[in-house]
Symmetry: D2
Subunit: 462 residues, 4 copies
């Protein structure tokens, strides 16, 4: 065998047990109580958890936005992923007006292919629905892109997919089993409220908190409710990205009871922070879209992860450093939205989920690895410790105590929304397709090693 991981506790979506695990080339070749013999490399995992590598299905690397570009490019962003125990990421290929969706994918692949350090895939993002779009989606699906993403907002920015496009896209994926992700916010009321607070007096008075004032919970949950209605009407599978409200979880819960094919994703920022951050002096740094909501929302989202109302944790990584964020100059509509995140996903979810008894270990594996793989059509190659699966593995040390500092991270970011957070556990070794790509938080792989993941239609239920 090429790599042997000995004496660890294998932790899967089903449960945990002690065993050795052997890798041959890029695949898991054996799981056994005691594997002996010749091996290229032996890793002692005593006292450690051996989990399928985390999968972050929501990252925006080197994204042009607000006149700048997000600070983690495909290279450094995927290095950060590796350091944090993430072995696959999914980024976005956003269609430009006039361009075909297929062109958008090809262009984005060209940006990524030579740089990526772990495996990656792309969601195609239609922004210009036309007579050929459905056919392009079917073509992309046959080429391994089975997930799509639509913005229900960004009308002025020309990226919106309004109800007719969203409905059509859901109809389209219902034919081949794909999935439509949505950024769900109510565009018209949201724009009205943004406009309302976009004046000197309020911005002076409330600063970055205008971001909160202009986005009450209903701007998210109305849009979720609407998208769920279209999913139910069409039979198309829906994936709600970065869900931030408790009401959203409630709507998904009720939709599950009715048998609607819908999954929801949330992010560490919605689970661990609350909107009081926007009252801080540097509150603008925390601006994401949608914004962080209240403690009560966070509680409902944790509960949703435990009960299945929320299926995945991803990060919506879109790194902007303090200099980039400073471009806002007091105008909350000009803040580059986004936070670093892929690197801290797993240790935060472990420390504040498992250690704090919010999630069982099994649920953690499900929400950061197995569920994303199943929903996005790459299970069991990814998201599983089964024999024959890709050897995407994180050896996680539950005894490592770290106080989080941006200085210790790989990400190109000079601050962290979780600065000073106590971590009770950290990735020790990250293995991507059989190759060790990070050790104790340091990247040890090679640029361009990552491969584009061709995907199939994903699961309808988990």
């Amino acid at each position: 065998m090429d790599v042997l991981i000995k004496n660890g506790t294998i932790a899967t979506a089903e449960g945990s047990y002690k065993a050795d695990l052997a890798i041959e080339k890029d695949k898991i070749a054996a799981i056994s109580r005691n594997i002996e013999g010749e091996h290229g490399k032996v890793i002692d995992a005593s006292g450690k958890l051996v989990m399928p590598g985390a999968i972050d299905v929501h990252v925006h690397l080197q994204l042009p936005f607000c006149g700048t570009v997000s600070a983690d490019d495909f290279e450094n962003g995927t290095k950060a992923a590796a350091c944090g125990g993430v072995t696959s990421v999914i980024d976005f290929a956003i269609q430009k007006k006039g361009e075909t969706l297929i062109d958008a994918v090809d262009a984005r692949k060209a940006e990524a292919d030579e740089k990526v350090c772990v495996d990656y895939a792309l969601h195609a993002v239609p922004t210009d629905w036309g007579v050929n779009t459905a056919a392009e989606m079917e073509k992309l699906a046959s080429d391994g892109i089975t997930s799509f993403k639509m913005f229900m907002i960004y009308a002025k920015e020309g990226m919106i997919s309004d109800d007719d496009a969203l409905f059509s896209a859901l109809e389209t994926v219902s034919r081949f089993g794909g999935v439509v992700g949505v950024h769900a916010e109510s565009v018209r009321v949201l724009d009205l409220l943004i406009e309302r607070y976009h004046n000197e007096e309020d911005m002076k008075k409330y600063g970055a908190f205008c971001h909160v004032l202009s986005r009450p919970n209903f701007t998210e949950y109305e849009a979720i409710s609407r998208a769920v209605t279209w999913a139910e009407a069409t039979g198309g599978k829906l994936y709600i990205v970065h869900m931030s409200t408790g009401e959203g979880a409630e709507i998904v819960s009720k939709a599950h009871e009715r048998g609607v094919k819908v999954f929801a994703e949330t992010c560490p920022q919605y689970l661990l922070l609350d909107d009081s951050v926007f009252r801080k002096k540097d509150g603008h740094l925390y601006a994401t879209c949608p914004q962080i909501k209240s403690k009560k929302d966070a509680d409902r989202l944790w509960e949703g992860l435990a009960t299945g109302d929320v299926s995945t944790i991803a990060t919506d990584t879109c790194t902007f450093n303090t200099e980039q964020k400073a471009m806002w100059k007091g105008d909350f509509t000009k803040i580059p939205f986004g936070l670093p995140g892929v690197e801290t996903l797993l240790p935060l979810a472990y420390s504040y989920g498992v250690v704090n008894n919010r999630l069982s270990l099994q649920k953690l594996v499900q929400t950061v690895s197995t569920n994303p793989a199943k929903i996005m059509g790459m299970y069991p190659e990814k998201g599983s410790l089964a024999v024959g699966s890709d050897a995407d593995i994180v050896i996680f040390d539950p005894d490592r105590q770290i106080k989080l500092s941006h200085k210790d991270l790989q990400t190109n970011c000079d601050w962290s929304p979780f600065e000073g957070y106590e971590l009770n556990g950290y990735p020790d070794v990250t293995i991507c397709r059989g190759k060790v790509v990070a050790e104790r938080g340091k990247f040890t792989g090679e640029t361009g090693f990552g491969k584009f993941i061709k995907r199939r239609p994903g699961y309808d239920e988990l």
Copy 2:
């Protein structure tokens, strides 16, 4: 290795993949893409599913009832289990008046130990709640009996646990993580309705259908609702045995939303038959308690299995042959209640669940094996194909076509409620703790091989 299963499709609660599986002594020792070397026995599982052995947590072997004894004793009943792919069963130790609960367990063990052919455990059944019962339950738990069962009916028979006893038992298990199973029917209204139909005219007119007339759905779901209230009030874990009504599934679903620790079990008879059987000439044969309900209930129960409202399928096996059943002589209150079942659990659930697209393969494994093991406190030794788990395995042939006939079965029963049912798949080899105990439906193990399973507190959520 002692046994090597080659080329099969490993099917677990999480998903499926192709791999070889090796057994050393009584444990699963390795799962590997390709296992070579010396082995005591090699089984070719090409084209077959390799699943954790089914676990039937609800059987009544050699049960004295209605002046007779159920026709499958511990020996033949567990042989039948083995033939059907079931590697563990849980029977019941029912307290007699005046006897301690511990005595009841010891007595039942004595009946079973030398006879059992697969592993077994016992639920202790308090029927005489007293000042010492809680302490006895705690003592039993420390000896590996962590599940209890209570009858909400059978007042005249002296087996009832009324609300105060049930409440007390739930309080008790809440202290150590045990679980209380309940037979949930509303005793007073039920007895009223039985009395109402228990007259010559109605019995002449309706025959065995009186059993249906006297047990409307509300006699079950009121009791479920009440038991759930006590579980919620005490924090004690509740397990609803043989749930037969759709309304029951609805109540459990709502309880899950509120975070109540409650699980429900249903049985093949409630999923595959409907109450029209009681209008048949030999309708009395089908009498169980509770009785089989309507097609609509069956649909809701299947849906419940898919969505998690119902967690397990067990059989409530209590075999009575036609001669025993004939004792009723037209009086529906004198029918020995019970059906054969342990042997056909897995092929029926596969054929009518997986093949008919009611359940994913993954859900099947969960409901007949992994969930029962987790709830009843014997996971991951049982219910799992993990390395280190007991080598309780069924190799299932999905291509075998059989028309079910009681003549081909091991059970001591001269009829079957599922006579003539088409089976699309059947167990090929059953392995219990590393030993082949059945092949192609014939018992090949040895009497007394089965062991008593000492259990821990089970899972609170799945």
Copy 3:
């Protein structure tokens, strides 16, 4: 005309308007903008509300209980009613073991007839269900007693109607449109909890608060849920007396959605007080059954009145003075349960409902007069200001400010649970069947004037 009420604001269940109202003999004879001519008596109601007399459908006058008799007998209790604007009361005829239900009614009538000062009716209370009880109920209904009451508790006291009796009673009333009232508490768990706290140590430590500790909300709402199930199963109409929990209101709300015929009553003590009263030095005085719950429950009950989940406010009047209450001597199981109340029903409901914006004036009239009359089968003779209706009228002064003191009341009680409460409004004149029976809180009628009300089947929905 015999009586003319001029210049008042007529306030009905539908709305309000200014008009004169004339009475001829015992009936409302005219409502007119301006009634002129000869009249026996003219009352100026300028600035006042002219409402249908309140109807208190839940009083226990001269009730033998705990070795004493409730301190307001039929005479003084109905005088107090008159003083408080209540023109009809319904008391209870409780069957003794061995006695027929009809005998019980006759005996109770004999106690009341010569004493009552306002109109009255009786609920018949079966406590000894037998083969003839259903027939007796039908007989009583034809004699004008269409409502029945059952205790789900008081097993030791021999007054319980267990599920079979309750089910049978609901079946019975479903045949003729009657209604079954229930005191809903879960007898077996309740008795277990009472027993648990019934020891010297706890009683010393918690005093009267043991009454709260032994009756958690679930002891009420489980019983409500069960009774609703029987009502739904039988089609019989159910009336939940003295509902004290918010969960109860929720259960009724859901039952209404399913079309179940069920109404709920609450009382001023559950709306205005909370269980902290039992921590007071004289906490035992407040003991009723069920006990007063939390502020949160009160809020939900107010909301229920506004939305229709709760249909009526009655008082459960059962007066015990401090000497009688003192019989408890520290043992919470020996407190005579009950509070004075009929006299303060209307001013409390007005002051804390209408003035505090919890209820519209229209809802007030509905809940204290029109709904009780409709549910109990005496509308439109009672509960209405329609022409032809009985001239049961209260002229209410919304400008009268009073601080409540038991000293100013008619009731034979030397304390009040609402002592010191600010009243914003008080009855000015009470008219029963055309006769002025009270003025400004003083009784002016005559003993024995009240008549027994023969009732019909009531409304199924409001």
Copy 4:
């Protein structure tokens, strides 16, 4: 007195009783058991129901639409109203682009004032939301127009109020207690589906049924759900006009539980017909917007009227005769939408509601008269038989048997959607503000008699 109605049964929103009713000038002056003396006119109402005149809050008289004008103008339309027992109607003043809302109202008033034969009011309809619109709404409210109507569809026609305008309008009315009516359909998906069926092949194949195919239930209920969200967010009162789906009733029911201020209206066509009419040869005649749905929807709407989920029945009268309807020439997008209706509202609701036991008499009065008056801010002048109220009265003969034929009606329509329907009851005399305006279905009033009704803010709950 000017008019005396003798011996009738007074039927109000609260209940019924026998009495005489006298009118002085334009007001109800007295209700009395027996009114004697001198009277201008005496009407014998023996055996008849005396009800408050019906109020149709949704009519479109002489509406320019599809290049034609609806066939009942203000004169004939209000004559038809009078003949059918309707004493008040509310029509619409639809803003034109560039015009102020106040101008629109003035222009519409000018069209109506000299023609109307019963009283009328106007809903103002903003279609061009701008910086002054909110102020105009407040101005109109102070002039007696407290209700507004918005179209969530008709984007191409330039009449749409999108989410931002609807949200703003609800915010506006929340300040003064007004109400916003909405035509709730999901514009973008609806237009997509219309476009989809708008091709020669489908139109040839399905004819007028394309109208059904292009408007699945979700096109209505998604919009209702959205509007309710905005109502809940703003605290503004919402009135859903012509609700046609059962799901809509469900959404309103849930909103009521949450305390949202929302009312729903349905129409006879949604209660009595089903979408099979569009398969008839002359199916295009039945085209309204939204279209008639299924029998199941009708059942849920009837249930909603009984339980309060639906508060009013109005007609959406917009008369087009067969010649006008013929303009469609096979293109379902060119059918003038609308049906005659004001004249048959009351007899249909009585015959198919009360006689068929779908509604109590009391509920009928509530839904066609009292509730509309309360919601629209004209109670108790309108919608009530109280002394002091406007003498708007219909004397209804419950014994009159009529087979409905358009030939017998006042409306300018040469067909009826309810042709041949059996009516069990019909208006005998209609009185508007004290003046008899119709007798036995024939108009007897005078043109221009009707007055514009100045309204106040309406009720928040019923």
